[in-house]
């Protein structure tokens, strides 16, 4: 990559220019951001470097940070966002917290008041470092321009290694203007941060022994498998040992949906088989997942009959929620290399058939009614099914949070990894739309489809401006039931249908989209679905398809909060 450094007589550059050069050294290809007073110098340099650094202007800093997350999830690279001081920085907090709990690598650069004004309640001053301390993997406030290259190098290294996460670098205006001599050294190690564990040989042996002698083993894969780039190894391992696999919400698409050993999703709205059979397994092999409460239900009885193997790169997760018999602190890729070498094939036909039998039951009693409905009103499930069929399971599916999220997770099929992007741990409504924008910018050659509800879409609807200005070809499917669906479902099931503040009067979304130059259509009849989907995918332009779905549809199966995973309920 060629770039010209604006050299002063003594070969020094401003801190803002050092930032540009550092981002280029880190091979940054997309920056999502929003200007302001305390980043105006940075933006002046972005102007100068516009041919080398692609900056996408969001319409709200929250849109910028979620876009950086979607970009990171779709590409596996580190997302980058920039915001100004004060409210600009605080608007990033939701996204930073989301990235923290979902282990997404992003570097957030915030402007800050000049050093001399720090702590004086200056205009647009906010102590963002303190505010984001619990939700950043690392953060640092630069004081001199000369610190910028090292801070950026460390930021990227920390964000993407070990268990990935968000890093925040706060740059006071004085450091942006100040001069320094630019020299860049990528960060390759940090004395106090050893993220790459050495495999404990005795634990590996114990795990191999356990797998080879297990009668009813089950692999639970989580996002860690994707973060480690270990998808193919996971498949090879499962096939070699002949062990069925289930995925968490965050692990979806790591394994192709049609693989004979893939049994479905676990969790609150997961498939019946994997959930119920967790209570029948004799060996639970957890890989790159953290036993979130959405997965375990009542922890006191979760898999209590099973031997539990837990492999994760974050040592503090092993044994945190669920008692573990063999914990292996490892990068999943390293662990799988060893396991693949040593495991044996064991015939487990009867055990695998239990999953397929349960799926058949689920299909007949739940799934068929949802994806092939006979009543007049449309269901979310049939829309998701039609889209996944039309895209032949090749699309990147992005969701918002709520009922549509669960339906999209359950009924989308995946051929490729990194094809399902959702806010899992934090469950941020409004995440979907900007994340889809970031994803499309990261993988423009793929179809990117967003499923969102009428509630979540309106939380970040202003990003239609970003779509318009950059002609980002996202396909937005608004599954509109006129309610805050998931909360309404709980109010129906557990609060005697007292719909407190969950009914929403919505605008005409198609007209709103049109105002932003985005084509679209609204349907409420099954007869129009196929044609509408075809129209949506006819070209690579942004498109909004509103589908008016049955107002009081519920997501089943469901494990009510605190119930054991065997306590799945199928209907109202």
């Amino acid at each position: 990559m060629h770039f010209e450094i604006s050299m002063k007589k003594d070969k020094s550059v401003s801190g803002a220019e050092a930032l540009m050069l550092s981002l280029l050294e880190e091979k940054t290809e997309a920056i999502f951001g929003y200007p302001g007073g305390q980043v105006i110098h940075i933006y002046d340099l972005l102007y100068k470097y516009q041919d080398q650094l692609n900056h996408i202007l969001a319409r709200h800093e929250q849109g910028a940070v979620h876009a950086a997350q979607g970009y990171a999830r779709a590409t596996g690279k580190t997302g980058v966002c920039i915001a100004t001081s004060g409210p600009g920085a605080t608007n990033l907090i939701t996204g930073i917290a989301d990235a923290m709990i979902d282990s997404t690598p992003i570097v957030c650069i915030t402007g800050q008041v000049p050093s001399s004004l720090l702590g004086s309640d200056a205009f647009q001053e906010a102590d963002i470092i303190s505010m984001t301390m619990p939700v950043t993997k690392w953060s640092y406030q630069v004081t001199e321009a000369s610190e910028i290259p090292e801070a950026i190098a460390k930021a990227f290294y920390i964000a993407r290694t070990g268990r990935p996460g968000p890093v925040l670098i706060d740059i006071p205006k004085s450091a942006q203007i100040g001069l320094c001599e630019f020299g860049y050294k990528p960060c390759t190690s940090i004395r106090s941060y050893k993220w790459h564990p050495v495999l404990d040989e005795s634990k590996v042996e114990a795990i191999v022994e356990a797998i080879n002698s297990a009668e009813r083993p089950l692999i639970l894969l989580g996002q860690g498998v994707k973060l480690s780039g270990a998808e193919k190894k996971l498949i090879e391992f499962a096939e070699k040992a002949n062990v069925p696999v289930a995925s968490t919400l965050m692990g979806l698409s790591a394994m192709p949906s049609d693989h004979p050993l893939y049994m479905g999703m676990v969790g609150m709205h997961g498939n019946i088989g994997p959930n119920v059979l967790t209570q029948e397994t004799d060996l639970l092999i957890a890989m790159g997942m953290r036993f979130s409460d959405r997965i375990t239900g009542d922890k006191t009885v979760y898999a209590s009959q099973a031997k539990v193997v837990h492999i994760d790169i974050d040592k503090s997760e092993i044994g945190k929620n669920v008692k573990v018999d063999i914990g292996l602190h490892a990068d999943i890729s390293d662990a799988l290399d060893e396991l693949i070498r040593r495991v044996r094939y064991v015939d487990r036909k009867a055990w695998v058939r239990q999953f397929t039998d349960k799926y058949k039951f689920e299909y007949e009693n739940v799934i068929d009614l949802i994806i092939n409905p006979t009543q007049k009103e449309m269901t979310m499930g049939e829309v998701v099914k039609s889209v996944t069929e039309y895209t032949d399971a090749n699309a990147v599916v992005v969701t918002d949070v709520g009922q549509q999220q669960m339906i999209a997770a359950r009924y989308s099929h995946f051929r490729h990894t990194r094809s399902f992007i959702t806010s899992g741990g934090l469950g941020t409504m409004g995440y979907g739309f900007p994340a889809a924008i970031g994803a499309k910018i990261g993988v423009p050659e793929r179809q990117v489809v967003l499923f969102c509800g009428d509630g979540g879409f309106q939380m970040t609807i202003q990003e239609l401006g970003t779509v318009m200005q950059n002609q980002v070809g996202v396909k937005i499917v608004v599954l509109n039931n006129g309610y805050l669906g998931m909360v309404r479902q709980w109010q129906q099931l557990f609060f005697g249908k007292r719909y407190s503040n969950t009914e929403m009067l919505n605008p005409d979304f198609v007209t709103v989209a049109e105002a932003y130059g985005v084509a679209g259509r609204s349907i409420d009849s099954r007869d129009d679905l196929e044609e509408a989907i075809r129209e949506m995918f006819a070209d690579d332009k942004p498109y909004l398809l509103e589908v008016k779905v049955n107002r009081e549809g519920n997501v089943f199966p469901m494990i009510p909060a605190g119930a054991p995973v065997s306590g799945v309920i199928f209907n109202e």
């Binding site: 301390m133 640092y140 941060y193 050893k194 564990p197 050495v198 503090s316 044994g319």
Partner: protein, 111 residues
């Protein structure tokens, strides 16, 4: 409900602004009150040792220490009961700094 006991947590970390905040946040998150706190330099330049006294249940301690070790600037953390042996344990920890720094995988500890 598990009984609370007094523990002493010893931590080696890089001497950088903000680390103390991150360490105390781990205690705050679990509503554990810090009874005493000492920070002192060690024989290695740039590395400080924190000695923190707090009371909590036995099952929480290993997890707390693991979470302290997650902090980027933290090199190693250990805990021991606040009994007569505590002084010895703390001294032993302090003496181990050299070997901890030379350890290729200091991530092999409690949890």
């Amino acid at each position: 409900m598990e009984k609370n006991r007094a523990y002493i947590v010893s931590v080696f970390s890089e001497n950088q602004a903000g680390v103390l905040n991150r360490i105390t946040s781990v205690f705050l998150r679990r509503k554990i009150n810090i009874e005493s706190l000492k920070v002192s330099e060690t024989s290695v330049k740039g590395i400080s040792m924190f000695t923190i006294e707090a009371s909590t249940s036995e099952s929480v301690m290993p997890l707390l220490v693991c979470q302290i070790e997650k902090i980027i600037e933290v090199i190693r953390a250990e805990y021991c009961p606040a009994d007569e042996q505590a002084e010895l344990n703390i001294q032993r920890f302090l003496n181990s700094l050299g070997s901890v720094l030379n350890d290729p995988d200091p991530a092999v500890s409690v949890c």
